[in-house]
Amino acid sequence: MIDTENLTRKFDNLIAVENLNLHIEKGEVFGFLGPNGAGKTTTIRMLACLITPTKGSAMVAGYNIIKDPLKVRQSAGILTENPSLYERLTAYENMDFFAQAYGINSITVRQSRIQELLEFFHLWERRNDRVGGFSKGMKQKLAIVRAIVHKPPVLFLDEPTAGLDPESAKEIRDMITKLSQHEKSTILLSTHHLEDAEKLCRRVLIMDKGRCLLVGTPDELRKKISTTPAIEVVLTKVTPEILAAIETNKKALEINQQGTRLLINVEDTHVATPEIVREIVEKKGQILSVNAVRPSLEDAYLKLVKGEEIS
């Protein structure tokens, strides 16, 4: 549904996006993850035909972004960095304008589509209110609804949860999940919120300084950056006997103590956990919890953008 080939964009001497190659399947929710200035917005703007690439090309919904920009715009919906809503117009008037701009000329079709979407996302009651009076979260919701008014096969969401409080951010995430199920659109979303990427995306691309660092499912990314597995044990009290017992165990490669919390690096958590737990109990240790530590997507992300090596 989206294919890019060496997609590059320079602004004077700054390379905002460099040789980006990616393939996004139909119906996939794909995430761009990266810090500010990573090139996420620039990539989305190129794919939405708002700016032209300096080099390379891309196909969106079967249309070339350089040769058929109007067709690409017709086939894509976009949530821009700002909601880009007309605040003096009502929610309905905003929707109506964009529905017509995207070529829905029949009044009946337009009305029923707007009603369907506003009802589905609980905005129908506020349809006649001016957008200027909406909360940030509601504006963001409306902006997303506006982006899908013409049933685009491809949807670009640029930082959909940026600047929202946790409750609104969750609402937007739920909305995107509903959207991918209800509309069956291919969704490309950019975010620097790892939670968004982890909860919403089937695959994630981590980018920094315009370059693609890694692409994969959140699980694959975790595996790729994972170093030694570890067990986290929390005790009521850590005694020297307990520490000595663990240190002598060959399966424990390294021990880090933080108060009553022990982080023990092992070769295999499945094999080492029962043995280490038994030794602690034998030394009269009282265990509060035991967890196998999985590196989070956050670890993967931080490791990559800080330029650490991938194992």
Binding site: N82, S84, R88
Partner: protein, 272 residues
Amino acid sequence: MNMDNAWLVFKKDWLEIKRNWQVLLPIIILPLIFSIVFPVIIMVSANAPMQETGTQDFQSLILNLPSDVQTQIAQMTPSQIGVYIMVLYFFAPFFLIIPIMASSVLGSDSFAGERERKTIEALLATPLSDSELFIGKILVSFIPSMIITVVSFSIFAAVVDIITFGMFNGMLLLPNVSYLVMVFGVAPVITLCSIGLTVIISSKVKGFKEAQQISVVLLLPVLGLVFAQISGLLILGPLVLVGLISIFAVADIIIFYAGIKIFQREEILSKQ
């Protein structure tokens, strides 16, 4: 280009403008002053005892008037001459200033205003073509500006006729051919020219105020016409007006063609 799409942009912008007093007030106040305060000035001057020196102020203008008008004036009293000259010649060019002032406010708000309110990106992401966006933005400046001009001229004409009806023994001074040609012929072509340039400026600068400041410069040629007529250097008679229409019509075509050619979504977006 699909004209329905340009019309769609117009309708959306017009809805917004109708609800924006910051934009609406300046374009209503000036015409109100022109159409009500000016006739009051005329009324005051008509009731003031007019001396021979009063008409001498208009001597250079009178000398440049067509001979039939001069013959007509010769039959009038000094008070009548003062009013006649003021109504038909002195204030006439001001009705070219109204649409230009209004369109400068509206035109400056077009792209620069959208950019300032951060609504431009979603608009540019729609499949509306460059020419549809450009023409739509021109329409939203042109139509209200012309409506305001015609309405203020109608009020001006009505007030003037009511005031001067008795003074000129039942003769209605307005509307006359020159005024009609000015309001319905010259004003639209000059306004279109000014709007075209203002919208181009608006797409190149960062904010609404910056666009407006630059576009006010476009008033200078019109002010030149005003002073030329007042001083008697150039009388805006039918022939001169037709000449102006032709010149500005050609300029309009060139500006529109250039405007669409240099319209760059990317440049508009990059000014954010």
